[in-house]
Symmetry: C2
Subunit: 360 residues, 2 copies
């Protein structure tokens, strides 16, 4: 049976959802099929995070969502960078020393393409209605093939220059990511000279400069955690608000208990770091982050290098050697079932708009 | 005659203005009495910037506003830091070399208190209804005296910790400044280890974390340039939006022609820098900023040191040796009479809220 959200929806899939709310794709096991399905079933829009997955694992997750709901959802892909052979022996020694604490070793600091070509084929074959891209842009041929099957293409951008490039590449929507966002920054090219890999725009400013540059619908992302934040970015001109950290502590999320506990404790600041993956990402400040502020710009090599350490720390419940991705407003995230969170955010957003109207 | 906006308005002066829009205080000659008066006369709220002025000069500016309008306006004061004697001979040599290009010399890298005590007495004596503070908090005794004469006290903050301290010090409102803002960041203590002197929060995230920390009305500042931005921060929960860069190119502003030209050209990125004043501030990237990314945290010493150079560069029309303060969205600033800008921003804000309402 052809899903009822198939061909013909390309221009309006996101903008016509009942609730202009998106659960951000969170790679590494957080965005479970259960979370994605719950968000879409609640009238908002869920995303699966294809990053780090094999095509088979992604296929299983897609099937998992479809087993729960017939509502549409999206898939996010990491665009691989160019293959580079780097000498990372210094950093490897640091990781080895830290990993030894939990009897783990350093991983292989090798480049990989994240199984990108196979996953692109899969999302086309599976007729995923909205496919978003992070860390760069899909080739024009991929954009064309997605369009042929009725999919919308979302490019995640952090600057007006990236927005221009995305528009030129045929993107249908832009996910504009502010510097407040938890997890990886979407910068196309990671400039080693800059802590954030590129210019750091606050979300409202990012929306403003992107809107002035290109005429594409905007999804706003970065630090949004309350319905009033959703109202704010819709007022700023976005067609939808994308929330990551807010859904990170939902019941259905695959977030590890240690990370949940650190978020609930709300005792740490957040910072941008390359320490865990080699690409700038925002997370709670812990020992490994603090000790490695000078980590090289080497993604995905560092991600592969630190993977066993992170896994062992997670199993041991040690927050100091895990990547504790979280946005700047993480302390306001509420542990709720996803549908209940969607309901509350929507109600708060409505109230916020009404309240603002009394001032104008 | 007692001004009609005198005693009794303390709790509500900002929140009850007809238009919830504030022209930010911009020191160094930008916030002229004409600009301040035009904004207040238009139904919004203007601020004089007392920073760098003698008490006599501030008194003249206050009289200048009152000669134009009987509407209320505010005054902003820089809170002086502790006296420190620093060896700045290295930086002095750099400034001398740069200043020589226009036949100028380096100024004296001396500490000063910015005539703060005399200006505090003046705003009390003049019954200024809203007094805002930047770079720190007024002593409790000053807050009490301002309250005694019916004034509202605004503390400018960048983090929840500063917001907590401001509430404890008796502030009536918080001006929450996001990292998008042009000009000086309001950080109470400039941490030399951080490019921004402290944690960098995007404006929406800053509003969220401050609201969770203290129960005071919030004025939102940082990168707001369009009426949709005003609508956004009102939706986020602010009682008013404070715009600096948007008013920087108004006809009535004292902005130098060279800076106006650079803003209109919109060819430069913005960055945070200590190069001109010794405190983190956002401005357009020019040669002096680019050459001095390692400038020491030494305010107001560096400000005094670079003053002759900046003045000479301004007279010579050389944008490379001036401080070109501007927020991240500066390219969208519109050169208009201030009243017309207030009118457009208000209309845009109303439209933005109506548009957002159709999505919820």
């Amino acid at each position: 049976m052809r899903p009822r959200w198939g061909w013909g929806y390309r221009r309006n899939m996101i903008a016509e959802r009942q609730i202009p709310l998106i659960a951000a794709p969170m790679a590494g096991g957080v965005s479970t099929p259960e979370l994605t399905a719950a968000v879409s079933a609640a009238g908002a829009f869920g995303f699966l995070a294809a990053g780090y997955l094999t095509a088979d694992a992604l296929a299983n997750q897609i099937a998992g969502v479809r087993a729960i709901t017939s509502e549409p959802f999206g898939v996010n892909l990491f665009v691989p960078g160019e293959r580079r052979d780097l000498d990372l022996s210094d950093y490897r020694m640091r990781v080895e020393a830290a990993a030894a604490r939990h009897g783990a070793e350093a991983g292989s600091p090798s480049w990989d393409d994240d199984n990108y070509p196979a996953k692109v084929e899969l999302v086309i074959a599976e007729r995923i209605p909205v496919v978003s891209f992070t860390f760069g842009l899909p080739d024009r041929s991929i954009v064309d093939r997605l369009h042929e099957v009725g999919a919308q293409v979302v490019a995640t951008v952090t600057t007006r220059q990236e927005a221009r490039a995305a528009a030129d590449a045929g993107a249908d929507l832009l996910c504009v990511q502010g510097m407040e966002a938890g997890g990886h920054r979407a910068v196309f090219n990671d400039d080693p000279a800059l802590p954030g890999g590129g210019s750091l725009f606050g979300l409202l400013a990012a929306i403003r400069v992107v809107q002035a540059e290109v005429d594409l619908p905007i999804i706003a992302a970065g630090g949004l955690v309350h319905g009033a934040d959703v109202a704010a970015v819709l007022s700023a001109g976005a067609v939808a608000a994308q929330l990551g950290t807010a859904f990170l502590v939902c019941d259905e999320a695959g977030t590890q208990p240690t990370q949940r506990a650190e978020i609930a404790a709300a005792q740490r600041e957040t910072e941008l770091t390359r320490a865990f993956s080699g690409r700038p990402a925002r997370g709670l400040v812990n020992r490994f982050l603090a000790d490695n502020g000078d980590a090289p710009a080497a993604y995905p090599q560092l991600n592969n290098l630190t993977k066993p350490m992170r896994g062992a720390a997670g199993k041991a419940g040690d927050p100091e050697l895990m990547s504790l991705w979280a946005g700047q407003t993480y302390a306001q995230a509420r542990p709720l079932p996803a549908a209940e969170l969607v309901r509350r955010l929507t109600e708060e957003a409505r109230q916020a708009l009404q309240q603002a109207s009394t001032r104008l």
